[in-house]
């Protein structure tokens, strides 16, 4: 399986090549990959149905306990099936939708890479592997939202989606690290068995908050819901696949996956059910305001994601059954509806539902598919959506916390969703025929297969819910329920959920009937909505840019001196802090030098100071030379003959070089003000003092055993040399010397190049030489 996914990534990379050979048929051929994986998954069904889990082990980074182990239980199986089946259908759909698109190969590369990342995400057993796949889905999603990269709106939306989900990803990473520490394992299957240990751990609260931020941003929960509707800038297959059926459910998947490990506490239940319920109502409410069919569907996806989160928050067995049913129902009908939206967009040239009407005569097949899918969205019998909604209302009624509030929000969500479903299916296909920018026509077969199949499944599962029993049971088992016994039926008799459904039907019909009026009324709320979370995001971004500009102006202003002063001040602060405050300073200041040694030291100081105050360049170079030769003397006096020889040689060469070049250099000029000089003096003085103190305290500190003892002892036996320094240079640390030779060679090449270009300057003119200078 791991190999299949890796092969998928390779295949994604090869997509342009395939496109070169196969042309427009490429997506169809590519669809074989997810179809094949789906077939393999189907073959594993007996194992899963028996309640077992499939563990495919593969060590990845053994030293760090990171494995690419795949774990297939009911939950992972359901998600993997959705990803592969809908993925295959989407690829078929894409073949028609993006026919003739120049960038089709690029699209295929990214969407197949996404598909594989998403599969990896739901199958991974290791937290690190899961996180890597998680981030991969964020990145591929970014590339897909921004597919039409020449459109500034698409670029902005893509960036927004990326920032929100990757920002949440950072929190998730922190959460995973804490989770692994608290549970003492990186494996999800192990962690899920250590629920009690995790819940009682000190890190539980911060860990849960971090993980939930990651899940909420990915799954567009309130207050992070705003990025999802904006992500509709992507081509429709992407919206159908990533932003309704799969990727946005990654957060839901994660919460479901960790439900046995982290669930069951008051914090988990309260947060999830309230955030979920709030998201549900917000999504449904915001959906009604829009006439763009993709935005309508996007907000209703937000609503569905909220519902799923809420059901996980309730956490009873009934709620988990409802969770699985609703999840499946939503993936089926929403995928179908998005593809229908793409068909409508293609056929009419507009996405505005209020501009469409009476299309059922021109596009009868599309109309049938849209109606079935919408009925499921609306939660009407006998479709799977009805089952999901009934179970949802039932578990909300049975919830033992915040029941009233959740019921209110759930009911609001339900009747508004009904209105959305009506708008999406009735508006474009029924009523009076309206003129659209393009003459509508029935969709080609390739575009109809996907939605038709998904809608048919909605209907089939709704009519015969018993077929789902085993799947739901296996999935609920993965969610941590003990020995679930699931019997789904369409008809539960006349009970409270049914009555609520009827009431929501009436209210929803009313909203649909007066939709235009409702929209106009709601327009009054626009100023309030504009101050919602998206405004917060924009202010955050603007603030970030402002701070970046401000600190660049301060820190990176192009003055070498500023960089130097900043670096030195930081160094002074950190080292000074460690030296003076963290460790008491112990200095044993004793001068046991001979007179001639003091004279040499004095010469050095005098040379250095003279070099600073001289106004003549020649005098300054001479003063530095005096200092350099004094250093050579120190080397002579203190047992370093090799150093003395080298220093003498280099010092001589330096003075020769400087004297040669000196008169081609500008004269010293006094450019700074006295105030600046005092400031520099203060910085330089404190740095010098710090170095002195540092050295004195090191001299007094405890000595570690010398590593050079080995070299002293082995220089002759191993290196066959009597000069230990030489043996070190050419034998023990020969690589250092090699590096040194490289540096010198590079410097020589650079010097040579700059001197050569000097000649070219006179031949080819000023500009050419100036341009080349940057490369030299």
């Amino acid at each position: 399986m791991q190999l299949a996914i890796l092969a998928g990534f390779i295949l994604a990379g090869l997509a342009p090549l395939f496109h070169h050979w196969l042309g427009a048929r490429t997506p169809l051929v590519m669809a074989m990959l997810p179809a094949g994986i789906a077939a393999w998954l189907l073959a594993q069904w007996p194992v899963i149905a028996a309640g077992d889990t499939l563990l495919l082990e593969w060590a990845w980074v053994p030293g760090l306990d990171i494995t690419l182990t795949f774990l297939i239980d009911g939950l992972a199986w359901l998600f993997a099936m959705l990803i592969t089946v809908i993925g295959a259908l989407i690829l078929v759909y894409t073949g028609e939708y993006l026919k003739g698109e120049r960038d089709l190969p690029r699209f295929l590369v990214v969407i197949i890479a996404f598909m594989m990342s998403m599969l990896g995400l739901v199958l991974a057993d290791n937290l690190v592997a899961l996180f890597v796949f998680w981030e991969l889905t964020s990145i591929t999603s970014y590339l897909l939202i921004g597919f039409h990269h020449t459109d500034p709106v698409a670029r902005k939306s893509a960036q927004q989606g990326l920032f929100v989900t990757v920002g949440g990803g950072l929190a998730l990473l922190a959460g995973f690290v804490m989770l692994a520490q608290a549970g003492d394992s990186w494996s999800l299957s192990v962690l899920n068995e250590r629920g009690a240990q995790l819940v009682g751990h000190d890190l539980y609260t911060p860990l849960l908050v971090c993980v939930l931020i990651g899940a909420f941003t990915k799954s567009a929960q309130f207050p992070f819901h705003f990025w999802l509707p904006n992500a509709m800038a992507a081509p429709t297959p992407v919206s159908a696949y990533l932003h309704s059926a799969t990727m946005v459910k990654a957060g839901i998947y994660l919460m479901a996956r960790l439900h046995p490990a982290l669930g069951g506490t008051g914090l988990w239940e309260t947060t999830l059910s309230l955030v979920g319920a709030l998201t549900m109502a917000t999504g449904a409410f915001l959906a009604i305001r829009h006439t763009n069919i993709k935005k309508l569907l996007a907000y209703s996806t937000v609503m569905a994601l909220g519902t799923l989160t809420m059901l996980l928050g309730i956490g009873t067995e009934g709620a988990l059954v409802a969770f699985v049913t609703f999840l499946l129902a939503h993936s089926l009908y929403k995928g179908a509806l998005f593809m229908v939206a793409g068909i409508l967009d293609h056929a009419t040239g507009t996405k505005d539902v209020s501009a469409m009407g009476g299309l059922r005569r021109v596009m009868p097949k599309t109309a049938v598919v849209a109606c079935i899918a919408s009925l499921s969205l609306a939660g009407m019998p006998p479709l799977l959506g009805f089952l999901g909604k009934e179970l949802m209302l039932k578990s909300v009624l049975a919830a033992d916390h915040h029941g009233g509030l959740m019921l209110l929000l759930a009911f609001t969500g339900a009747f508004l969703t009904l209105a959305v479903a009506a708008v999406v299916s009735l508006r474009p296909f029924f009523g009076q025929r309206r003129d659209t920018p393009e003459t509508p026509h029935e969709a080609p077969v390739g575009m109809l297969v996907g939605p038709a199949l998904l809608a048919a499944l909605s209907l089939l599962f709704g009519l015969a819910p018993g077929t789902l029993d085993a799947l739901v049971e296996a999935t609920v088992n993965g969610l941590g329920a003990v020995d679930p016994d699931v019997h789904l039926t369409l008809w539960h008799g006349i009970n409270l959920p049914l009555l609520l459904s009827v009431a929501s039907l009436v209210l929803g019909a009313l909203v649909f009937r007066h939709w235009d009026a409702v929209r106009h009324r709601l327009a009054y709320l626009d100023p309030v909505i504009r101050h919602g979370p998206e405004r917060g995001y924009e202010m955050l971004m603007a603030g970030m840019v402002y701070v970046a500009e401000w600190q660049t102006r301060i820190l990176q202003n192009g003055h070498v001196r500023n960089y130097l002063v900043m670096t030195l001040l930081v160094l002074l602060g950190l080292v000074g802090h460690a030296l003076l405050i963290r460790h008491p300073l112990e200095i044993d200041f004793s001068v046991d030098a001979y007179f001639h040694e003091m004279v040499v030291a004095g010469l050095m100081v005098a040379g250095a100071l003279t070099a600073c105050v001289m106004r003549s360049r020649l005098a300054a170079v001479a003063a530095v030379g005096i200092m350099g030769f004094s250093i050579a003397l120190i080397f002579v006096l203190f047992s370093a003959p090799d150093l003395a020889i080298t220093q003498l040689l280099v010092e001589t060469l330096t003075v020769v070089l400087l004297v040669l070049v000196l008169f081609r250099l500008p004269r010293f000029a006094t450019l700074s003000t006295p105030l600046e000089r005092w400031r520099d003096l203060a910085v330089a003085g404190s740095f010098g003092t710090l170095m002195t103190l540092l050295m004195l305290s090191v001299l007094n500190g405890q000595r570690l055993p010398r590593i050079s003892d080995y070299m002293v002892a082995n220089s002759q036996p191993l290196g066959h040399g009597h000069n230990i320094v030489n043996v070190i240079l050419v034998d023990f640390r020969a690589l250092d010397t090699l590096g040194e030779i490289f540096v010198l060679a590079l410097a020589a090449v650079g010097v040579h190049a700059m001197l050569r270009f000097h000649a070219a300057e006179y031949d080819a003119g000023y500009d050419l030489a100036g341009g080349r200078d940057d490369n030299g």
Binding site: D592, V605, I631, V661, A684, I724, L744, A747
Partner: protein, 115 residues
Amino acid sequence: MESLMAVTIGVLFATAIYMMLRRSIVKLVIGLMLLSNAANLLIFSMAGMVRGAPPLVPEGLSAPPDVVADPLPQALVLTAIVIAFGVLSFAVVLVRRAWEVVRADDLDRMKDTDT
């Protein structure tokens, strides 16, 4: 002796930094020279300074009979001296080129890429 060297090295570092903070570009080069010398001296004297015991193995022996000066910092400093020379000669030629091309010796006037 190390205490005396500590003070000397402190002065060397201070002068090096002061020169590197000047706006005149030639002074920057002088600062660079002072800095590399100060750093070399720091490494050398940090290991402990020993008089009259160079790290040599006498003929016919396999190891020095007495305590000798630590050879490792000497090897490091030797490398550093040579590299410092390479850097310095590169810097000097670069400064010369810059002066020829832009005729500016004030670092403040060279802060943009298109000076």
